[in-house]
C-alpha cells in the first residue's frame, strides 16, 4: 500500500539542484497508535515542499521529527548529506514556525527575534549593535518596522505569525519548517500572507517544508506536494502532477471536489450505469469506482453519450453556474465555468452528463 516515489532518490540528474533533505523509512508510533509508517521522501535544495493530509495523517509528527522534537522509531534523515537524527535539536539550525507561533510571551518582539542570536556561545555571538541591525532588517523583511518594542499579546494574529517567521529566519536556518502557518488566521489574511510567504522563501532561498491540511494552499504555494494519510505517504509530486493524476481514490477526493459512481471494467470497456466508454489500458479490472471533477463535465442531449441525469436546479454563482443534477438516484452538484447556463440545461430537463476526464480506481473490497 506504501507509495514509492518513481524517481530514484539517490540519483536525480533531471533537476539541476542537489538533494537537500532525504527522509527514508521513517516510522513512529505513540503507544499503540502508529503516527508514521515507513515514510520516504526528499526535498531538493531551496525547494518549497508541502506535507498535505487530513488531521491524524502524521504530517506534524514528520515535521517534528525533522526539527528533532520527536525521535522516530526507525528510519533515517539526512540533510545535506549529514545524519540529521544524531544531531540534537539545537545543532540542526532548523527554523521552525509553530502552529500557534509559540512566541515568548514575556519578551518584546525584538527580543523574540534576537533570541536565537543571544543564546549562541559567546565566541559566535554577534555584538549588541550587530544583533540590533539584524533584528531591524528582519522586522522590515516581515513588514513590522517599528513594532519591535511591542509584546506578543499586543499583536494581531497575522503580525504574530510574521514575528514567528522572523524569529525562525534570524538564525539563518538551513531548513525552514512551518506547521500549519496559516491555520489560526482568517481567510482574508491567509491569502495575503500566502503570496508573501512564497516571496520571502524565494528571497531567503532556504529549503522549506510546510504542513497544511488545506489542499488549495498546498497546490497554490508548493513546488511539490507530499500527500499523507494514516501515517503513510500516498503521493509525491508537483501540484499539477498530483492534481492531474491522483495516485488513488483518497488523493483524488482530498485534492478537490469529487463526484463518484460505481462502475465495471471488462477488458478495455468501462460501464457506468447506462454509459459505456473506453477504459485506459492500465485501468483496474472488475468492480471499480469512477471519479470525476464537478466542473470537468459536458452536457449533451438525451440521445448523446454520457450518464443519464435530470436537472433539479440551476443557479448562477458569480463566475460559475451551479447545476444540481440527479444521476443514478444520487444528487450531484456540477459546475460550469463562465456565467452562462449551458444549452439544454434547465430545471426539470433530462439530459446526459459526460465526464471529460474520468479516473478509475479499483473498488474497495
Amino acid at each position: 500500500m506504501n507509495y514509492r516515489p518513481t524517481e530514484d532518490i539517490d540519483a536525480d540528474p533531471a533537476s539541476g539542484s542537489p538533494l537537500a533533505l532525504e527522509i527514508r523509512g521513517i516510522s513512529k508510533s505513540f503507544g499503540r497508535f502508529p503516527a508514521l509508517n515507513n515514510v520516504s521522501l526528499h526535498a531538493r535544495d531551496k525547494e518549497f515542499l508541502a506535507l498535505l493530509g487530513p488531521s491524524g495523517s502524521g504530517k506534524t509528527t514528520l515535521l517534528r521529527v525533522l526539527a528533532g522534537l520527536e525521535r522516530p522509531d526507525a528510519g533515517e534523515v539526512r540533510f545535506a548529506g549529514e545524519d540529521f537524527l544524531s544531531l540534537p535539536v539545537r545543532r540542526r539550525r532548523v527554523g521552525m514556525v509553530f502552529q500557534h507561533y509559540a512566541l515568548f510571551r514575556h519578551m518584546t518582539v525584538a527580543q523574540n527575534i534576537a533570541f536565537g542570536l543571544t543564546v549562541r556561545p559567546r565566541r559566535e555571538r554577534p555584538s549588541k549593535s550587530e544583533t540590533a541591525d539584524r533584528v531591524a532588517d528582519l522586522l522590515s523583511l516581515v513588514q513590522l518596522d517599528g513594532l519591535g518594542g511591542r509584546f506578543p499579546a499586543q499583536l494581531s494574529g497575522g503580525q504574530r505569525q510574521r514575528v514567528a517567521l522572523a524569529r525562525a529566519l534570524a538564525i539563518e536556518p538551513s531548513l525552514l519548517l512551518l506547521d500549519e502557518p496559516f491555520g489560526a488566521l482568517d481567510a482574508q489574511v491567509r491569502r495575503e500572507l500566502r503570496r508573501w510567504l512564497r516571496e520571502v522563501h524565494d528571497r531567503a532561498g532556504v529549503t522549506t517544508v510546510f504542513v497544511t491540511h488545506d489542499q488549495e494552499e498546498a497546490l497554490d504555494l508548493a513546488d511539490r506536494v507530499a500527500i499523507l494519510k494514516d501515517g503513510e505517504l500516498r503521493q509525491l509530486g508537483a501540484p499539477n502532477e498530483v492534481y492531474a493524476a491522483p495516485a488513488d481514490a483518497f488523493v483524488y477526493d482530498f485534492l478537490g471536489a469529487a463526484c463518484r459512481l460505481p462502475g465495471v471494467v471488462e477488458g478495455r470497456r468501462l460501464t457506468v450505469a447506462d454509459w459505456e466508454t473506453q477504459a485506459p489500458a492500465d485501468a483496474p479490472q472488475g468492480r471499480v469506482e469512477v471519479f470525476f471533477r464537478p466542473d470537468e463535465v459536458m452536457f449533451a442531449p438525451l440521445d448523446g453519450a454520457g450518464l443519464a441525469g435530470e436537472v433539479k436546479a440551476v443557479a448562477v454563482r458569480g463566475p460559475d453556474v451551479r447545476i444540481e443534477c440527479l444521476i443514478e438516484g444520487r444528487l450531484f452538484e456540477l459546475e460550469s465555468r463562465g456565467a452562462v447556463v449551458p444549452n439544454g440545461v434547465a430545471p426539470g430537463l433530462a439530459l446526459r452528463v459526460k465526464p471529460l476526464k474520468p479516473k478509475i480506481y479499483a473498488a474497495k473490497a
Binding site: 526539527a67 528533532g68 522534537l69 535539536v89 539545537r90 545543532r91 540542526r92 539550525r93 532548523v94 527554523g95 521552525m96 509553530f98 500557534h100 509559540a102 512566541l103 515568548f104 510571551r105 514575556h106 533570541f115 536565537g116 543564546v119 549562541r120 524569529r167 525562525a168 534570524a170 538564525i171
Partner: protein, 284 residues
C-alpha cells in the same frame, strides 16, 4: 412567561439577600475579626513594655530563629521539588502519572499529626532505623532535622499544585521553540520556563512559607518541646499558654497573626496584578 424578555444580567438580589449579607458579616466578625482583635488586645494588655519583653526573651527569640531556619530550608527545597514535579507532570506522559499526582495531594488530605508520626515511626528510638541512628549518634527526632522533615512533608503540595495547571495550560511549544533556536536545556529553563511561571511560583512559595511557619501538628509530634531548642513559634505559643503565661502566648501569637496578614496582602496583590499568569483556578 413575563420573565422571558428580561436579561439575566439585570436580576436584582432577591428580597432576603440583605439578611444573608448581615448573617455572613456577623459570622465573619465573630469567627475571624474578633479572634484577631483578641490576639492583639491580649498581647498588649499589660502594656507595650510587657509585649516587647515577651517577644525578646531568649526562648521566644530562639523559637523565632528556629521557625525562620526551618522555613528557610523547607521552602526552597519544596520550590525546587514543586518545579521539578510540575515540569515532569505537565511535559511528559508516563506510567504512574496519576499515582504521582495523588501522592502530591496526600499531605492535603492527611492529618498533619500523621505526617509527623511517620518520621517518629521511621527515625524514633523505637522506629525502623532507630537503633542504627542511635549507634551512629544521629539525631533526627527531637531535633531540627525532624522539624524540617515534618515541615517539608506537610507543605510540599503548595508549589507543585500551583504550577501544574499553569504549565499544562501553557504547553511546551515555547520551550521547543527555544531549543530549535539553539538554546540549551539550562538556557531554555532559565530564560523561557522560569519567567513564564515566575508569578505562580511566587504565589506557591508564599502559601508554602505561610504554612511552613505556622505548622503545628506535624511539628508538635517530632519536636519533643525542648524549650529554646526544638520549639518553633507555634509550639512556643502552646508552651507559654500551658504555663498560664497569657501575655507571652498572645505576644508570640500576634507575630504569627502578623505573618498571616502580610501573606494575605501579598497574595491579594499577586492575584490583582498578575491574575493572568497564575493558574487558571486562581483567575477571577
Amino acid at each position: 412567561m413575563t420573565a422571558v424578555g428580561r436579561p439575566f444580567s439585570q436580576t436584582r438580589l432577591p428580597g432576603f439577600a440583605p439578611l444573608l449579607v448581615i448573617a455572613s458579616a456577623t459570622v465573619m466578625t465573630v469567627l475571624v475579626l474578633l479572634p484577631l482583635f483578641v490576639v492583639f488586645s491580649d498581647a498588649f494588655s499589660k502594656g507595650i513594655g510587657h509585649y516587647l519583653a515577651a517577644i525578646t526573651e531568649p526562648d521566644a527569640v530562639s523559637a523565632m530563629k528556629l521557625t525562620l531556619l526551618v522555613a528557610a530550608i523547607a521552602v526552597p527545597l519544596n520550590a525546587v521539588f514543586g518545579i521539578a514535579a510540575a515540569w515532569c507532570i505537565a511535559r511528559f506522559e508516563f506510567r504512574g502519572k496519576g499515582v504521582l499526582l495523588t501522592l502530591i495531594d496526600l499531605p492535603f488530605s492527611m492529618s498533619p499529626v500523621v505526617s509527623g508520626l511517620v518520621w517518629v515511626l521511621l527515625f524514633g528510638a523505637q522506629g525502623w532505623f532507630g537503633t542504627w541512628l542511635i549507634d551512629h549518634d544521629v539525631k533526627i527526632i527531637f531535633a531540627t532535622t525532624g522539624l524540617v522533615l515534618a515541615t517539608i512533608l506537610v507543605t510540599f503540595p503548595f508549589v507543585a499544585r500551583e504550577l501544574i495547571p499553569l504549565m499544562q495550560d501553557q504547553g511546551s511549544d515555547e520551550e521547543a521553540a527555544a531549543l530549535t533556536l539553539g538554546a540549551g536545556g539550562f538556557t531554555t529553563f532559565w530564560r523561557i520556563t522560569l519567567p513564564n511561571i515566575r508569578w505562580a511560583l511566587l504565589y506557591g512559595v508564599l502559601l508554602c512559607n505561610a504554612r511552613a511557619m505556622g505548622e503545628f501538628g506535624a511539628v508538635s509530634v517530632v519536636s519533643g518541646h525542648i524549650r529554646g531548642l526544638t520549639t518553633t513559634l507555634p509550639l512556643h505559643v502552646e508552651v507559654l499558654y500551658n504555663d498560664y503565661d497569657f501575655v507571652g502566648a498572645f505576644a508570640a501569637a500576634s507575630l504569627l497573626a502578623s505573618l498571616g496578614l502580610v501573606t494575605l496582602v501579598l497574595k491579594t496583590g499577586l492575584e490583582w496584578r498578575h491574575s493572568g499568569e497564575l493558574s487558571a483556578n486562581r483567575r477571577h
